[in-house]
């Protein structure tokens, strides 16, 4: 169980990025965090990853307070952040340095196979496309079998087709050993496709505004009415979170203009 208790973050500049964030994520659950820019969603992820420390409250994973990067928490950044001097296999195996050579080779091969890049093991990162590079980054994060995988707008730099492809692929990988996923995104579709729960944040300072259960069967049909309904609810919450002109009570009449402008 990953839980955040009253987590707040004030930067050295005095900027209050997060305030009183409370969130509990069950093992194996997929939670998406959406919100306008500057709402602190990336900050939130950095706190959970242990790269930054909260100024108030704490992040707890199974009873352990997270104050530094933890071996059971993996992260995929917005950019692949592959090490250019290592081959694809070297990058995937980066977190396995303490394992035996044979075990490392086996797990790397397995992970690369799983992301469909077995034939790319020996190439340099510069030779990969954006989507391939991000798949390598996902393989690198998953190869250590983390209990929690954090994803910070992982597909935002990719084209629409590759993005949809990788979203499905991620769910596929998730099904292997069901880690907890915490996905920060500004793509509402991505949130609905992936998440069991969508947490909407509001800015200045960043805090949780509303949480929406998507309550959709998997695999999800991007064309279904239920999908559309969930999306409208999230968009409506986003609009309200930014104090945009509120929509009608149930959110069904979300205007297209609002949908396009919320971020």
């Amino acid at each position: 169980m990953l839980s955040l208790h009253g987590v707040g973050k004030t930067y050295a500049t005095g900027l209050r990025a997060l305030d009183g964030v409370a969130l509990a994520v069950a093992p194996g659950e997929i939670v998406a965090v959406v919100g306008g820019s500057g709402c602190g969603k990336s900050t939130l992820l950095r706190l959970v990853s242990g790269l930054d420390r909260p100024t108030d409250g704490e992040v707890v994973l199974d009873g352990t307070a997270i104050t530094a990067p933890h071996e059971r928490i993996g992260i995929v950044f917005q950019e692949p952040r592959l090490l250019p001097w290592l081959t694809v296999a070297g990058n995937v195996g980066f977190g396995l340095a303490d394992r035996s050579r044979a075990e490392r080779a086996e797990r790397v091969a397995q992970a690369l196979d799983r992301v469909g890049l077995a034939d790319k093991a020996g190439v340099w990162p510069r030779e990969l496309s954006g989507g391939q590079a991000q798949r390598v980054a996902i393989a690198r994060a998953l190869v250590t079998r983390p209990e929690v995988l954090l994803l910070d707008e992982p597909f935002s730099a990719l084209d629409a087709f590759t993005r949809i492809d990788l979203q499905d692929h991620l769910l596929d990988l998730w099904a292997d050993f069901k880690p907890t996923l915490l996905v920060v995104t500004h793509d509402v579709d991505e949130a609905i496709v992936l998440a069991d729960r969508v947490t909407v944040m509001r800015p200045h300072p960043g805090r949780i505004y509303e949480t929406i259960e998507t309550d959709l069967p998997r695999p999800r049909d991007r064309q279904s009415a239920a999908y559309d309904f969930a999306k409208r609810r999230v968009l409506a919450a986003l609009d309200r979170s930014l104090d945009r002109k509120a929509v009608t009570d149930d959110g069904r009449t979300m205007s297209e203009a609002g949908a396009a402008l919320w971020w």
């Binding site: 990853s49 790269l51 933890h70 090490l83 977190g95």
Partner: protein
């Protein structure tokens, strides 16, 4: 010039359509030789024809004769060897000090604030200005020469390493943090590979300065070395010997630079830069 494909007749033009690429690969670098070789031949002819006596500006044939004579008597290898040893010692010391201090100041911001201003002030001193002091401190023999070369090598290496370490992409460092690398592991697995391209450049410019300073060092009094050949040639009025020594410097400088380049190449194959070889 026979090296140049000057004529391609019209009827072979079609067949030659693919040839130009191969020709270009061989001939274009050869273009660089046109000017110096022409000048050398021209000068040789002018001296041959008696237009100039070539006493102060010796023709290529005289220079070659001097070089082969120096080589035959073993003088050339003795002087070149002495110079190479000095450069090697000074380069080694300068690189070691520059790498260590550059890495420390690049890594620790506090140390940078503490040490870097002083080093930058020292860097502003023309290094030749140290010669009198070094002679007083270290004597007129090898130590002061090596020290001068080391000073020359130190600064470009120090600057290069410090700049490279300080500007390693934070995002890449965070990857190391996520995988909980210890300090030494972070240096070995992230920082060192990340700064390697810049380090090689720093080493090469350091080496260039090393060759520059060995001449200054040998000017201040040496009984052997290529710099000694220069001074000796000046004092005894042997311009051919001076030019021969200059040529030896050129060859050695280029060779050692290429050596660094070749040694580093296997570690830099990953580079994805505009200038990197594919």
């Amino acid at each position: 010039m026979s090296l140049l494909p000057v004529t391609i007749s019209v009827d072979t033009a079609v067949a030659a359509e693919r040839a130009p690429r191969r020709l270009a690969r061989l001939a274009l670098p050869a273009l660089a030789l046109v000017l110096p070789v022409s000048l050398a031949i021209l000068w040789e002819l002018l001296v041959d024809l008696g237009v100039s006596d070539g006493r102060l500006v010796p023709p290529p044939s005289t220079i070659l004769a001097t070089l082969s004579e120096l080589a035959a008597t073993g003088e050339l290898s003795r002087h070149a060897g002495a110079t190479v040893l000095r450069v090697a010692a000074g380069f080694g010391l300068g690189v070691a000090a520059g790498t260590l201090l550059g890495a420390l100041t690049g890594y620790y911001a506090l140390l940078r604030r503490l040490v870097d201003p002083t080093l930058q002030a020292l860097r502003a001193i023309p290094s030749i200005a140290w010669i009198p002091l070094f002679i007083l401190w270290l004597g007129i023999f090898e130590t002061s020469k090596v020290a001068l070369i080391a000073v020359g090598v130190f600064f470009p290496v120090y600057l290069g390493v410090m700049g490279a370490i300080a500007s390693v992409d934070r995002k890449i460092v965070e990857v190391g943090r996520v995988f909980r690398l210890s300090g030494p592991a972070m240096v070995r697995r992230i920082l060192l590979p990340a700064v390697l391209p810049a380090y090689v450049v720093a080493l090469r410019s350091g080496l260039g300065l090393g060759w520059m300073f060995v001449v200054a060092a040998e000017f201040m009094g040496a009984s052997e070395g290529l710099g000694y050949l220069l001074v000796d040639g000046q004092q005894l009025g042997k311009p051919a010997q001076i030019v021969a020594a200059i040529l030896a410097f050129a060859v050695l400088g280029k060779l050692t630079d290429t050596l660094i380049h070749l040694l580093a190449a296997p570690f830099l194959r990953w580079e994805d830069a505009f200038g990197a070889k594919r």
